[in-house]
Symmetry: C2
Subunit: 316 residues, 2 copies
């Protein structure tokens, strides 16, 4: 019933860090890590490793930088089982200088997030990371805006120049419908012959989990989720739903439910992720959720028809 | 780009009535009706027409009975445009005596909800309603529990004995995945040759909208939604998402957003519908959401791992 090749990546702390400038407590991060290890999740992504020159440590918490010493505080005393540790580097916001030799690091996998325009930076980062002993993936963001031939070239370049384990379809705007997911995975597979395809979906239109399933049906073997869907705007594909769908007996959903009850649900007092009309409207229009996030932080939050009219006017 | 045959049924007041014993104010019901008419929604379902012998009017609000006189108070002074009015009758909880002659009624469509075991009652109700001048549909509930040959017989019976416009796949438990939706619609279409197939999906696993799309892809032409997904447990497919997906220019999403902002979002203070772990767990296990609803109303609400263990123990 199950496909053993499928790898689940829980990126709660990394992606959720976009909601709170990566200010999670060490206790929460350790609980999320511990739960992922006990649940048998394949990879757990504990933050960005982005440049301190672009993000001020006064403003951003430790999981925006994810120094090895900080990560060791997370993993200390916890049996990882088969679970590996990942961090994400944005191609345009990080530097190869921050990739220290892999043998001294708790990090197993470096995921390079990139727009198509930054693909040269991304392949360079992925190459350096591989040379220094890390597993790598390349995650192409805002894929719903990348319809042109430069995507094909980027895929070809990743296929030829990197040792990435997987190349991701990242639906940053939550704009894709199932038929578009099918189309994109087929397009990726025209160029990606020696690596896996991955999917990272956003929930603007309540389709993150559904589109992840559609990715799996078309052969994607790297799939991302976050606990209870925690993430920017409407959030992500919930990892617990993914584990409920996948039938691999190595997974155990119970530790995820425990950490959700104890650490994630309480975050709802501060962070209002999930389905909201402003996010749905940027999703339908294939826009970055930034305008919706600003609206949700304003006093007019619930005047959703006014936000609709604003988008109609500004983008007519 | 669009399929003109597709009919959208907004059943906010009917399905949402399961969350509050159908106690909506007349003002809210008029606003929902007005919005559906202005949005060009094909049908708006304003309640159940169930028996006062089974539901006490002391406990249940007027939209559990939906008398013609009550419905006329809703429609008075509102231009329906092309929007028609529907009510639902449960095959096992209503009586043909409550179907008054259609020419005197504001109701256009009577939807008969049934389990497979009650199919004889359902076809009888549908026949009486048709004879008295109404359009009809037959909506087969809890379809994820109906795998056996009796479903085929029920479909054959509806096809042969009724004039229903459509026969529905109703995923009461929110248990279906896309491949199962495809399978069920193909199965329906083996027997349903002179009527349309409809889909009514629940959101226990965040798949209500996605599964509705999959139904449409496989040819379902009657699709249900509710405003902002209002409905029992995790709720329904949001009508606003449906209208965003469908490209028929007769639809206008703006009136729906207005009524959501003004009347539906405020209901969140009293009704906690939407994605919650207990609903997700009954969905995954293909169970009626009742146990999850009770858990959500208890003081242990957020101890979701305990609910998981409860289900593991009770259903082992």
């Amino acid at each position: 019933m199950y496909r053993p090749e499928i790898k689940v990546v829980d990126c709660t702390i990394r992606d959720g860090g976009l909601t709170n400038n990566s200010h999670f407590t060490l206790e929460t991060v350790r609980a999320a890590y511990n739960a992922a290890c006990r649940a048998g999740v394949d990879y757990v992504e504990l933050g960005y490793r982005n440049s301190r020159e672009m993000f001020s440590p006064d403003e951003y918490g430790p999981w925006r930088f994810s120094d090895d010493s900080q990560l060791t505080e997370v993993t200390e005393g916890i049996d990882p089982g088969a679970t590996k540790l990942a961090v994400m580097m944005d191609a345009h916001k990080s530097t190869p200088d921050d990739i220290l030799p892999g043998e001294d690091s708790p990090v197993d996998l470096i995921r390079v997030a990139t727009y198509v325009k930054d693909i040269d930076k991304a392949t360079h980062l992925a190459k350096v990371a591989h040379e220094r002993g890390y597993e790598t993936t390349v995650n192409i963001m805002a894929i719903s805006c990348e319809g042109g031939p430069t995507l094909d070239e980027a895929l070809q370049q990743i296929e030829q120049e990197t040792n990435a384990l997987a190349v991701y379809v990242v639906d940053s705007y939550g704009a894709l419908y199932s038929e578009e997911v099918h189309f994109l995975i087929e397009r990726y597979k025209m160029f990606i012959k020696t690596k896996e395809v991955g999917v990272h979906m956003h929930n603007s239109q309540q389709l993150a989990f559904a589109n992840t399933i559609e990715g799996i049906i078309k052969g994607a073997n790297y799939v991302d989720g976050t606990l209870y869907g925690l993430g920017r705007g409407a959030g992500n594909c919930p990892t617990e739903l993914l584990l409920g769908f996948l039938k691999n007996p190595k997974f155990d959903i119970e530790p995820l439910l425990e950490v959700i009850g104890e650490h994630i649900l309480p975050l709802q007092k501060e962070i209002d992720w999930g389905y909201h009309i402003p996010y749905m409207l940027t999703g339908i229009r294939n826009l970055h959720p930034q305008a919706a996030i600003e609206w949700m932080n304003s006093e007019q939050k619930d005047n959703v028809a006014a936000f609709y009219r604003k988008l109609e006017t500004e983008f007519e």
